[in-house]
Symmetry: C2
Subunit: 171 residues, 2 copies
DNA sequence: TATTGTTATACTCTATAACTATA
DNA sequence: TATAGTTATAGAGTATAACAATA
């Protein structure tokens, strides 16, 4: 296959080449590159201007959506490990962007809400994030966006049941 | 909006709620969660059994596809920073999975290829990775997969031209 | 005993900057 | 001067384990 006598064909055999994976066409790779590019571009939008990290943004977004949540609930909702949430919450509380209200019925946990200052920053970020998402999907029809959404949901369901799972669920 | 007199309505106003972003429906977030789950599950497949990291897998995949590439070319092809490539290459060379062949016409760079040992591991990983990708997209029709592929390409093109760019291009 | 949350620690991936050796 | 590649260093993001407080 590879070479005959001293021929200069130190090449991968036909069989091996057939067994190769084209990285550019490999779905896990493509998803990863796309998501990384998107995340980093978006993180720049709120990172540069407000000094907010991705986990911090997710905490704010969750509180913006539900007003009040415990750290545990935030982790479940935004797919973050409890230590990641804990540190994001600590950083936001330190900057007085969120506040803790103890749960008198279970003193282990605390309800978290945005302070007015946090709300203000959140309300500044939202239109920027929204604009980013709109620019991103500009050119895609409503139908295409819906299809993409459905595909993402189905892939998410699939991967949750694949192997090691890992799951990013909280411990 | 928020509360009248001492009423117990410490609630986000209707205006603010309308301005909120639903994380679960926010495309950048969804892409990121999906890609993370997929990447980590796949990385487990080759990480656990062969001690190969994601950057190392990308180097192997690139060499499997093209047989011979410089570190710079690998970085361009697989969207990795030159320092990431450099370390992955060093680790693979250390384990004797890839070999360097100096370019006599430009001694700054070297052509990289897999050793037989590297080939062997690569050829073990490929069917696992392929099986993973197939399981992942199981249930999607050929048409749907093609649509997904097209959408990813278009989003990739879009994000490349958005803002800070970042680009993950090599310096 | 189990759970919420914190902290110490470490690992992966990425990135900047400073360097070398070549060109 | 510019480029290929290495190394030191640092920053995110994530994870495990050990812990305190509470249930």
């Amino acid at each position: 296959m590879s070479s005959v006598a001293g021929k200069i064909t130190p090449d991968v055999s036909a069989r091996d080449r057939a067994a190769a994976i084209e990285l550019e066409g490999f779905l896990p790779y493509r998803l990863n590159v796309l998501a990384t590019l998107v995340s980093q571009s978006l993180a720049k939008v709120y990172g540069d201007r407000f000094g907010i990290s991705i986990p911090e943004w997710r905490v704010l977004a969750t509180l913006g959506q539900f007003r009040e949540k415990t750290a545990r609930e935030i982790g479940l909702h935004s797919h973050m490990h409890k230590t990641t949430v804990s540190r994001a919450v600590a950083a936001l509380a330190e900057r007085n962007l969120i506040a803790r209200r103890p749960n008198r019925e279970d003193m282990r946990e605390a309800f978290l809400t945005m302070t007015p200052k946090g709300q203000a920053i959140y309300l500044e970020i939202v239109p920027l994030a929204r604009a980013f998402a709109e620019q991103l999907s500009e050119g895609l029809s409503r139908d295409e966006l819906q299809v993409l959404d459905g595909l993402i949901s189905r892939l998410m369901g699939k991967v949750a049941h694949l192997e090691g799972g890992n799951g990013i669920e909280n411990t």
